[in-house]
């Protein structure tokens, strides 16, 4: 089973992996999804941390979610809280922060918590895709 790739489960289409994009702005989710889909990823969306936690806890996502791209400033459960939850409950899923507000202290603290990349909006498509590709290499497979 060590050869398992999550893409095999997604409707038969070859897929580079499943990414959850968490941002309260529909525009951002739309454009990030557009970029990542073109690069062959299966993209899910959540509008805040609470929805992100719901998403990963539902059905096959528990096993098949590979990478999360997460904003910080959001209603309900914010990015910091969501990241703490994901690190504790899904440490195998690499986390990328995509934020509108560059804050060195926050970046340092998040990277210490195991966040693999800290990107500042606006980020070029190439950089975003490279960050997701790197994160995909770091993911650990879900124990079956």
């Amino acid at each position: 089973m060590s050869e398992f790739k999550s893409g095999f489960f997604v409707g038969g289409d070859a897929c580079n992996g499943r990414v959850l994009v968490v941002d309260d702005e529909p525009d951002i989710r739309k454009v990030v999804k557009m970029t990542l889909q073109k690069a062959g990823y299966d993209v899910l969306e959540a509008e805040n941390g609470e929805k992100a936690i719901e998403t990963i806890n539902s059905g096959e996502n528990r096993l098949l979610l590979d990478v999360m791209v997460c904003d910080i400033r959001m209603p309900k459960v914010n990015g910091i809280e969501a990241i703490a939850y994901f690190r504790q409950n899904y440490p195998r899923v690499p986390l990328i922060v995509l934020t509108g507000f560059p804050d060195t202290d926050m970046a340092t603290s998040l990277l210490r918590q195991g966040v693999v990349d800290y990107l500042v909006k606006p980020v070029e498509g190439e950089k975003l895709k490279a960050a997701v590709a790197r994160a995909m290499e770091q993911r650990e497979l879900a124990p079956l």
Partner: protein, 348 residues
């Protein structure tokens, strides 16, 4: 526990002689000070500007100088007429227990009043600029999000072949650019120094809505419900920039008091003689022992860097200048309501 801001000081009773420029400036300053009661103002010219001002402020206008200076309660007579004959008359007719300030002494007082008013304007502006410092996170969020959309769509357009998609995405880019320019326009207009004598009839609900836009940069409105009860015609005479600053501060405080969400209620009402603005939150409330302190300069319960301690102090000053009052009711754990009462101005 519910209480209001107290002003329980026994006031010094003051009479003002002279209602020209000096008398008017003194009147404007002194009537704002709770420790002072102006028992009357007089001038030999019935058309003097200070007399009209006094009527607006409901300060007694006395026609006879002797009647005013022999008033039994008077403790201090301020003579700003510059008339030597009046000085002689004061020495012979004023009640001996009343102090008299006249000549160059009252002129210096007037200079100090002018100086104080300049300092207040500077303080107001400095506090506003300090507040704008805390907008950085909100501005970055509101500018970088549209920029992300613009960049992502433009990258996609490079190889988009579907003409309909090209049109739709170009329209999205234009809308995003417009959103971004609106941010800069709002903020530069808010940050500018307000002209001190720019008084006009100000629509209170329009100013509250504008303040909501600005306050969003200072604090996150996540999980906040906004309820508006506006009397559409509620208006007051005042400086629109200063009033905006007052509302931004009150709304920012209200949101900061509601750490884990709540309801912000904005209310305007028209009474027979006054207009009322209320800003209410369902936040942490103000402990009774801090009630007297919150309007004092440099008082803050916010962490370092989050508040100057001058917000409510400046609000009180602006409202007093508009001849209004500000009061607060609050209950710990339930929320706070700030009520501004302003004189009603006839619609023009």
């Amino acid at each position: 526990m519910t209480t209001t801001h107290p002003t329980d000081v026994t006031p010094t009773k003051i009479a003002i002689l002279g209602a020209g420029r000096g008398g008017t400036a003194l009147l404007d300053l002194l009537h704002q000070i709770p420790a002072i009661e102006i028992i009357g103002i007089t001038d030999c010219n019935p058309g003097a500007p200070g007399l009209q001002r006094a009527r607006e402020l409901r300060v007694p206008v006395v026609l006879q100088v002797t009647e005013l200076i022999q008033n039994h309660g008077v403790q201090l007579i301020l003579d700003v007429t510059g008339d030597p004959a009046l000085g002689t008359m004061l020495r012979s007719h004023a009640r001996p227990e009343a102090d008299v300030l006249s000549g160059s002494a009252s002129r210096i007082l007037w200079e100090l009043v002018q100086h104080e008013s300049t300092l207040q304007a500077e303080l107001l502006h400095a506090e506003k600029l300090a507040g704008i410092g805390s907008f950085a996170a909100g501005i970055a969020h509101d500018i970088n999000n549209p920029l992300q959309l613009i960049l992502g769509l433009a990258e996609n357009l490079e190889d988009e072949t579907d003409l309909e998609a090209v049109h739709a995405q170009a329209a999205d880019i234009i809308a995003a650019v417009k959103r971004t320019t609106a941010i800069c326009r709002d903020l530069t207009s808010y940050a500018r120094r307000s002209a001190s004598h720019n008084h006009s009839l100000v629509s209170l609900s329009a100013r509250l809505d504008e303040a909501l836009k600005i306050a969003r940069y200072a604090v996150g409105f996540h999980d906040i419900d906004i309820v508006k009860h506006y009397a559409p015609d509620a208006a007051a005479s005042g400086n629109p920039d200063e009033l905006l600053h007052v509302f931004v501060n009150l709304i920012t405080n209200a949101i900061q008091a509601m750490d884990s969400g709540g309801t912000l209620t904005l209310h305007t009402a028209i009474e027979p003689d006054t207009v009322i603005v209320q800003v209410s939150d369902t936040g942490c409330g103000i402990p009774p022992d801090l009630f007297n302190a919150i309007f004092e300069p440099f008082f803050t319960t916010k962490p370092p860097g989050k508040g100057t301690g001058l917000g409510l102090y400046n609000i009180k000053h602006v409202i007093h200048q508009m001849h209004g009052t500000i009061a607060v009711t609050s209950e710990v754990g339930i929320g706070s309501t700030f009520t501004i009462t302003l004189p009603r101005t006839a619609q023009t």
